[in-house]
């Protein structure tokens, strides 16, 4: 067991030394693998960040209740009181028509146009926040229907439709990331396989001699498998670095945008699990690519 370990350690270091002897060729392969790994990783980081950024919106389940245009303030207050007593309602805020108009005048930039109006076109409105325990879609739908039946209520609007649409789109993109990752993984297998094939071709004599003195297929294959693992690991490191650089370059402008929207949002990198996944994924793909090619090619090389 100790010998086995010793042998493998020796081959491991030996194959690293060999790659080191051809730094340019090795670097090219590593960079290509790095980019192939970095693209899906970047997409993944993007989706993760969008999810985090939009996470706050999922709780934005406030229901807007508009009173009939001719409903009086008294009616609106009564309606608010009735709704507030419901078990599935946490909070009801009354927005008086005049206050709403004032707000609109201040922020919309249509001040002059509004001044031209004789009457206030806005109705009284209530903002209903469901109780935390009743925020699932079934309860919220039921609540919406109930609210519609309250005296004087004209329109009930649930502002969550676009949130679910957004989440659905995000899901599609996430699935796309998986597909892209799969395609790029296939690409990496091909890149590693082709590099190993060239390696094998360059070392044909050595392989023949080794087989002549009794080296088995597994024995001559071993250094190539380690080559593949090294390529993959180095590619994983490169990919991690590319993602880190991309996140670093984007984090300041993103923070500025977030600041403009009054958010504390900060761009997140791949993190430790992401790094581990890149390294492990790279190593596994490198190993598999070289395994497939080396097993096939080395079988063909027989001493003459």
């Amino acid at each position: 067991m100790k010998q086995w370990f010793e042998r493998h350690a020796q081959t491991l270091v030996g194959s690293l030394g060999r790659l080191w002897q051809h730094p340019f060729a090795t670097l090219l392969t590593v960079i290509v693998i790095g980019i192939a790994l970095a693209l899906p990783a970047c997409l993944h980081v993007l989706v993760q960040n969008v999810r985090v950024a939009s996470g706050g919106w999922n709780n934005a389940l406030d229901i807007s209740v508009y009173m009939e245009p001719d409903a009086t303030l008294e009616q609106a207050k009564r309606a608010a009181e009735r709704i507030r007593q419901r078990r599935d309602v946490d909070e009801v805020t009354l927005i008086e028509a005049d206050a709403a108009l004032e707000e609109f005048r201040k922020h919309s930039g249509f001040g002059a146009a509004l001044d031209a109006l004789k009457d206030n076109p806005l109705p009284h409105a209530l903002v209903v926040r469901p109780d935390a325990e009743f925020r699932d879609s079934g309860h919220v739908d039921a609540l919406t229907k109930e609210l519609d039946k309250v005296d004087g209520v004209d329109l009930v609007q649930l502002d969550t439709a676009w949130v679910s649409r957004f989440n659905a789109i995000l899901d599609v993109i996430r699935r796309g990331v998986f597909l892209a990752a799969g395609l790029f993984a296939l690409g990496i297998l091909v890149i590693v396989g082709n590099t190993i094939r060239l390696d094998i071709e360059n070392r044909r004599d050595e392989i023949e001699v080794t087989k002549l003195v009794g080296g088995s297929d597994a024995f001559v294959r071993r250094p190539f498998l380690y080559n593949g693992v090294w390529y993959g690991l180095a590619g994983g490191l490169t990919a991690g670095a590319i993602v880190a650089i991309a996140v670093g370059a984007l984090s300041t402008p993103v923070q500025r945008i977030a600041g403009l929207y009054g958010s504390q949002f900060q761009l997140e990198g791949v993190g430790v699990p992401g790094w581990l996944a890149l390294l492990a994924g790279g190593a596994a793909l490198g190993w598999l690519g070289s395994f497939i090619v080396a097993t096939r090619e080395l079988r063909e090389i027989e001493p003459k």
């Binding site: 004599d205 001699v209 080794t210 003195v213 009794g214 080296g215 088995s216 003459k304």
Partner: protein, 258 residues
């Protein structure tokens, strides 16, 4: 040790290199295989090392019918045979140490043991102290001796050599041949293909002559005891070369052939 029984070998191009050949070589025997180039000497050796398979007939090597050796068992089969090639087949970009130690690395022998045995093996061919040299820096004769050191390091009971003196001048050729002779003296079966009639006539060992893939003359060893021809090189005690089953290190006197 080796038994050919009506063996034929026909290559894909239709040439029959070995035709209905029968030949037996006993354990501990030393045999020269002679004949013109193209007579089938190399093919015969390749059949023994399972580099080629017989088209017909049976070949038994070291008690194993070669037809029964599956592809996956060939490496293990080859490890019991030491093979010396005319073109050395060394790894030119690796030090002598790596070349000679390769069979033991394959066999999974511990590094310490390999170091010991590489030294012992190089000592036997007179190249002790050249472990770090690359074969490309060595002369042809020295390269051939590295090849021999590699062939004997795993202490095989059978040593086969294809034109081991083909590229050497007469003095070097005698030196190399003497190395083989000494191995035979300690019980190793040795089979050497050579077309150098003048050289092999100096040794009193059995000669098998091939022509067109057949044995045309299977002269037995002359009755006079085989005498080693000296080139002024010091002798290696025969005991030191005896193949051992144990892992006991070989203790060898520090000698040089060059």
């Amino acid at each position: 040790m080796i038994r050919f029984d009506h063996v034929s070998k026909r290559y894909p191009n239709g040439r029959e290199a070995v035709s209905d050949l029968s030949l037996a070589i006993g354990r501990g025997e030393m045999v020269f295989l002679t004949g013109h180039s193209g007579a089938g000497k190399s093919t015969l050796l390749k059949l023994i090392a399972l580099i080629e398979r017989p088209s017909r007939g049976t070949l038994v090597v070291n008690g194993q019918n070669t037809a029964a050796v599956r592809r996956s068992k060939i490496p293990a089969f080859r490890r019991q045979i030491g093979v010396v090639f005319q073109d050395h087949k060394l790894l030119m970009d690796r030090p002598v140490y790596d070349n000679v130690g390769l069979p033991l690395v394959i066999a999974g022998v511990p590094e310490k043991e390999i170091q010991k045995r590489v030294r012992a093996s190089l000592d036997q061919v007179g190249l002790l102290g050249r472990e770090r040299t690359r074969p490309i820096e060595l002369s042809t004769g020295e390269q051939q001796r590295v090849g021999i050191a590699r062939a004997i390091i795993a202490k095989p009971a059978l040593l086969i050599a294809d034109e081991p003196t083909g590229n050497l001048d007469p003095d070097l050729a005698i030196e190399v041949m003497n190395i083989f002779k000494r191995f035979n003296d300690v019980g190793v079966t040795v089979l050497i293909a050579s077309h150098d009639v003048h050289l092999i006539e100096r040794y009193a060992v059995r000669r098998v002559m091939l022509a067109q893939g057949r044995v045309v003359d299977g002269v037995d060893a002359p009755p006079t005891p085989a005498a080693e021809i000296t080139t002024g090189a010091p002798e290696v005690p025969a005991d030191a070369l005896r193949p051992t089953a144990t892992n006991a290190p070989l203790v060898l006197p520090d000698i040089r052939l060059d």
